[in-house]
């Protein structure tokens, strides 16, 4: 039981997870789960208690029982006490102040991350304002590599997402070409397949890989199909660069996705065995999103943001090249409006970076959420300032397969321009060789018809499935 007397009112919270839930900035998913703070005052009271809670508390008290949940066991068993030592004596509130101190920089944050558990980072983020989430994330530096480098200072990569409702190769190639001509694709060329089977995935993998090899594009490909499909594709000799999987923050929610940690480890090993990376062997790509565990009926009464950080702890175990939150995709019953989506996007990026993940964000929303492209502009700009490693690029921000709005190739150009950040260096060099950069190194708004790449891809013939 946690209690505090504030301004003449006594506030009580039965356990740690109730305290964390009450301390969370308001969001519809916690209301739906019936665990949000009872009042604004109760929310602040919970934060007061949280601020005085020793960080060590999270090593002895769990929000999901150790015996029942392999994600909890992963978090506790992998905790590194030596890395934790610099902050071991601090409370959550003192930890916030410590992080904001000028003397704590990228090196200190990298050294610290194996000492942090998901729940510590979740608790911390609940005490942080948006500017704190930005300021500390900006200091963190997480670099991952396969054929490009993700997360270098001053760089912002883009996942080129050329989805098509029937996986039509020519339609997908058209969107890939459009993205490349806008300087997108350095994080990955990653397709969400419309038809969920191994044959379809292999066809798409060959499509991207052939383009990549023919035009010597320094990037990696991914078909975002279930991990078991990727395993079969690998067995059948398909060119699998990255293995993708959606992950969640509880064992039960992961079971709902048809995965467990052993399966992820098997897939990780299989992808590593192919040795397809040129400058690195970070071979995993994970997506997460607040609300997944509640949606799967496996949330254990824990707030969705804490569970999101636990999902990130799952991702951390497999040295991913890319991790992103699909922040506004899940819908208004979890994040109701632009304000909630923006807050969650900043949280997910911050917590991931602090745990040591190469964090991107799919800055996105659905048409039944109270949000629009202006909210996405705001979040994209804030994340750019926070040093987001990559964002998503979809033609015209309209994903015609998944029926939601993300960021466009144009949006990526905008944020690179206003913040002076550039593509991944390997990819930038390729853009230069292809004649797509102006004298300032910006992707030039030129007559694309004259570009050899455009001609070549446009003239190529594509098989109809």
């Amino acid at each position: 039981m946690y209690r505090i007397d504030l301004a003449g009112t006594r506030h009580c919270f039965p356990d740690l997870k109730a305290l964390l839930a009450a301390a969370t900035p308001l969001r519809s998913g916690d209301q739906l789960a019936g665990i949000a703070a009872q009042s604004e005052e109760a929310r602040v009271a919970a934060r007061h208690i949280l601020a005085d809670l020793p960080l060590k508390t999270f090593l002895s008290e769990t929000v999901v029982p150790y015996e029942d949940d392999e994600v909890t066991r992963l978090i506790i068993d992998r905790h590194d006490p030596a890395a934790f030592a610099p902050v071991a004596s601090l409370t959550v509130g003192e930890f916030r102040d410590w992080l904001l101190n000028d003397k704590v920089r990228a090196r200190e944050l990298s050294a610290l991350s194996p000492g942090l558990t998901a729940e510590m980072v979740a608790a911390l983020s609940k005490l942080m304002r948006n500017q704190d989430l930005i300021a500390v994330a900006r200091k963190a530096r997480v670099v991952s590599r396969f054929r490009t480098s993700i997360g270098l200072r001053g760089r912002l990569a883009v996942r080129l997402q050329p989805n098509h409702p029937t996986d039509d190769p020519a339609g997908i190639a058209a969107s890939i070409l459009d993205g490349l001509l806008h300087g997108s694709g350095d994080a990955v060329i990653g397709i969400n397949p419309a038809t969920d089977n191994v044959d379809g995935a292999i066809t798409l993998l060959h499509l991207i890989d052939d383009l990549r090899l023919r035009y010597a594009i320094p990037t990696q490909s991914c078909v975002l199909t279930h991990v078991t499909n990727s395993l079969q594709a690998i067995e059948r000799g398909a060119p699998v660069d990255l293995v993708f999987q959606s992950v969640a923050g509880t064992e039960g929610a992961n079971r709902g996705f048809g995965i467990d940690l052993a399966l992820l480890a098997e897939a990780h090993d299989a992808a590593l065995s192919l040795k397809r990376g040129s400058i690195g062997q970070d071979v995993m790509y994970f997506e997460t999103g607040q609300g997944s565990a509640l949606s799967a009926g496996a949330h254990h009464g824990v707030d969705q943001q804490t569970l999101e950080v636990r999902a990130q702890a799952v991702a951390r175990a497999f040295n991913p090249l890319l991790v992103n939150s699909v922040v506004g995709f899940i819908g208004p019953e979890y994040l109701y409006d632009g304000r909630q989506i923006i807050r969650a996007g900043l949280e997910d990026h911050f917590t991931g970076k602090l745990l040591g993940l190469p964090m991107g964000v799919d800055v996105c929303y659905t048409n039944h959420a109270e949000a629009d492209q202006n909210d996405m502009d705001n979040l994209l700009t804030l994340l750019g300032v926070a040093g987001v490693s990559f964002v998503i690029g979809v033609p015209g921000a309209d994903d015609i397969m998944l029926n939601y709005q993300s960021t466009s190739f144009h949006d990526a150009l905008y944020v690179r321009d206003v913040l002076g950040v550039r593509p991944a260096p390997e990819f930038e060099a390729w853009l230069g060789n292809m004649g797509m950069l102006d004298t300032h190194g910006r992707v030039a708004p030129r007559d694309i018809a004259t570009l050899p790449l455009a001609r070549a891809i446009a003239d190529q013939r594509f098989m109809t499935p």
Binding site: P395, H410, I448
Partner: protein, 275 residues
């Protein structure tokens, strides 16, 4: 300064996709016309979510088929969007005739009243023609409905099958897509893996009424023969139909729907997430 490519190599590829490619640029941004086109798509999708179902208009199109009106426990759209659970329960004691019937067809607003209004009645009539000998319950029009609202409705009417025709989550380029969800022995508590879905019913760009009617009639007859809906029935479906016919197995994948649902877009509360 907006710059639209004069000799556009994308032109040849453009026919292969509805994606917004080759939009040109104004500096780093979209040209004005592309922005306005996007805004129009968003406005239409928003209106599809927020415009109430015009039950009179649907009733006028059902060729004299008796119609019952029901409402879920979600009193209004704002609550409906936040509380999917309320959208699955019937409000009050609905006055529904008791069967038994072979099939209860329900037209629900879901997340696009436009879809329900545009295609619901036509599909119901198409199915009636394809199912001679089936006893059909009065048509039910359901407001603030999620897919699972069909279960208590059909159970109350003693129907062997529930078929919920419901507006799917609207996309920017498709605000009027209808999903059809079939459940055998419907009752509250049915799981999503026990349903089959035919999605993207949206003439002229998606499935036509006739195509959807054919698939659904096949599912109904085969479902009656094997006594099941869901995974078992999906696996029996002709392969060519698979992209549009799926069971609702998946645990909700927040990150991305699995493929079937993606095409489905469709359970009336967001494609990826079972209602």
């Amino acid at each position: 300064m907006s710059q639209v490519p004069a000799d556009d190599p994308l032109a040849r590829l453009r026919a292969a996709t509805q994606a917004r490619i080759g939009l040109g640029r104004a500096g780093h941004a979209l040209p004005t016309r592309a922005c306005l086109s996007f805004d129009l798509g968003h406005a239409r999708a928003r209106d599809a979510v927020w415009t109430p179902l015009d039950t009179d208009a649907v009733t006028a199109k059902v060729d004299g088929w008796p119609v019952c009106m029901v409402h879920s426990q979600a009193p209004d759209r704002a609550t409906y969007l936040r509380r999917p659970d309320l959208g699955r329960n019937l409000a009050g004691a609905a006055d529904l005739p008791s069967g038994p019937f072979d099939l209860s067809i329900i037209i629900g607003d879901g997340l696009s009243s436009r879809a329900a209004q545009a295609h619901g009645a036509a599909l119901a009539l198409d199915l009636r023609r394809r199912l001679p000998g089936w006893s059909l319950a009065p048509l039910v029009l359901a407001q603030q409905a999620r897919v699972a609202l069909g279960d208590p409705i059909a159970a109350a009417m003693g129907a062997r099958f529930a078929l919920m025709l419901i507006g799917e989550r609207p996309g920017l380029s498709a605000a009027d897509s209808l999903g059809a969800y079939l459940t055998i022995d419907p009752r509250p508590g049915r799981m999503d893996s026990e349903r089959n879905c035919v999605s993207n019913i949206r003439p002229p760009h998606g499935l036509s009424i006739a195509q959807a009617g054919e698939k659904l009639a096949w599912l109904l007859m085969e479902g009656r023969r094997i006594g099941a809906t869901g995974i078992a029935l999906k696996d029996a479906a002709p392969t060519k139909d698979r992209p549009h016919v799926h069971h609702q197995s998946h645990a909700a994948d927040p990150a991305r729907p699995s493929a079937g649902q993606a095409v489905a877009g469709g359970d009336g509360d967001g494609g990826a997430f079972p209602p």
